[in-house]
């Protein structure tokens, strides 16, 4: 007999180390593009604007000098690069989380907190998930010559639940619940007012994020549709806390929240890239992308990578990123239109869509199977 908490931790989230390995690469690469080069502007601001929330910055009385933010960004890039190639993965994961936290602490000392905490929680927890066990220099060092067997064998490396992934799912659920709870408390479900409509108006007219979809909705959306959006938002965010007990349910919630994020991006021009990256921890990447040919290619690439001293690999990747950060004075993703928000949402939406269609097809098949059995 297994208790509900043990089932959640040790049975439910059976994610293969291959999936986690691919996710580690996606996570590190995404952060290198969109989350590096942060906070340079704070050194130019007067201490008159320094009002940190409770946290590490509250023990100081002013913004740090520019060189410190630069150092933290370079350290962050180095740790992300180590994570990307899977060299000393545990240290790299915790280092990346720590350096991003360090930068954020100062950026949010202005008093406004952006809600990108999942980007810190994810590597902190997954450091202990074994996400460096595949497609990494660590795995090569550990397993020696059996890399071919490990990479080419397409069976999942793990069939039991991964407690780190389960813990991450719980963290995501608790985070989402806080959003739902505030909305519930402040009357989003009241029929007297339509919160999404109000927020869209503020966003469109005052913040100045004018979108075609937002314009269309503001002109044509009836009250009942606004109210439906209020309810849907509260329900989707709140459902995570229940759905987390089963990975299948949790993934369905992720599908809906991906569609929700796409809607928010189109209407509000507000991207939730940070959350989308985290949801990738629950995607069965190997079944989406991993054919035998690609496995062979990645095996060959890894072997080549392992012949180069890791410190050289890290330098070769990190140096251009630092150069781009210096050039843009922000993340390298700023070089692209819309800062990669739209492509990232399209990828998330496509994966969510494929998964949703698979669920629908499986449900129809189950229904037909059930009927034929009953006949």
């Amino acid at each position: 007999m297994i208790g509900p908490f043990d089932r959640l931790l040790f049975k439910e989230y059976a994610v293969s180390s291959k999936d986690l390995g691919i996710f580690r690469i996606i996570f590190a690469a995404s952060l290198l593009f969109i989350r590096t080069g942060r906070g340079f502007y704070i050194a130019d601001l007067p201490d008159a604007f320094y009002q940190p929330p409770i946290g590490p910055a509250a023990f100081f009385s002013g913004f740090p000098p520019a060189w410190l933010i630069w150092m933290a960004n370079i350290i962050f890039i180095v740790f992300l690069t180590m994570l990307l190639i899977g060299w000393k993965t545990k240290v790299a994961s915790l280092g990346a989380a720590g350096s991003l936290l360090f930068i954020n602490v100062w950026v949010y000392a202005l008093g406004k907190i952006d809600h990108d905490i999942f980007l810190i929680v994810t590597p902190t927890i997954l450091a202990f998930s074994g996400w460096g066990d595949q497609f990494s220099i660590d795995s090569q060092a550990r397993c020696g010559q059996d890399l071919d067997d490990k990479v080419l064998n397409n069976t999942p490396s793990t069939t039991v639940g991964n407690p780190a992934v389960a813990l991450l799912a719980v963290a995501v659920s608790l985070g989402m619940f806080t959003a739902s709870w505030v909305k519930l408390k402040t009357g989003w479900l009241s029929f007297d007012s339509q919160a999404v409509e109000y927020l869209l108006q503020v966003n469109y007219y005052i913040t100045g994020r004018e979108t075609s979809v937002g314009d269309y909705f503001l002109r044509h959306s009836p009250t009942w549709l606004w109210e439906t959006q209020d309810w849907a938002t509260v329900i989707i965010e709140g459902l995570f806390i229940v759905a987390v007990v089963r990975m299948g349910w949790f993934r369905i919630c992720l599908v809906f929240i991906c569609f929700f994020h796409i809607g928010v991006l189109l209407m509000f021009a507000i991207g939730f890239r940070e959350n989308l990256i985290t949801y990738g921890a629950f995607v069965p990447w190997s079944s989406l992308f991993f054919s035998g040919t690609k496995a062979q290619a990645s095996s060959g690439f890894l072997k080549t990578l392992c012949r180069i001293p890791p410190i050289v690999s890290v330098s070769l990747i990190a140096a251009p990123v630092v150069g781009l950060v210096f050039y843009t004075q922000g993340p390298p993703g700023d070089l692209f239109p819309s800062r990669l928000s739209y492509p990232m949402h399209v990828v998330a939406g496509t994966i969510a869509g494929i998964y949703f269609i698979k669920i629908v097809i499986r449900s129809i098949q189950d229904l037909r199977g059930g009927k034929s059995t009953s006949k």
């Binding site: 409770i54 952006d114 806080t178 109000y198």
Partner: protein, 197 residues
Amino acid sequence: MSSLNNDVGHSACRSRVRWRISLAALVVCWVVQTGFVERFDQPYPALHMPGFGMPSTKGKQYQFLDSDIYITYSDGQTVQLDRNEFLWQMPAPHAGSTLKTYFRIMPPATAPKRSWLDRLIPGFRAAKFETSKPWWKQSVAEWLDSQRSRWRPDAGDATITSVRVEWIWRERLDDGTFQNVNDTPEYLWEMSFGEDR
């Protein structure tokens, strides 16, 4: 062999206990954090997602507290800016928050009383308690001076003599146009710098 099996068993058991403790710690920390948010403010870091607020409604017409910023130079010229032009260094949401915090309500004559938590951690919301002090005004004045050519490229030697921020309730009408709800601003923040220089 059996000793080896025992060692593996003990190690797996210890690992399971560590994961159970981690789960319990995560939930307990989240509960404590939620209580803290309810009582005080959102800490950072915190496992917290944005809840947004509730609309201020008047019938079916939604009202927004909008801001107009006027900067007057020593040569008598005044430029009007929006919040993103005024606080151009910051991302837009941070600019809105900073403007609301410092440029809405005039600093009180004396510093407000700090709560026990504010006294315990002096940096917490620090600047909010400092706006009545001379150094705060001096710090803002120096920052304004460093930005004067940015806001008005032809400023030359003209210095900034005053900043005026008007907060006005506006509402959107059914035809999509806007109108001021009142003739007078809801909040008025104004600071002159001429005499200090």
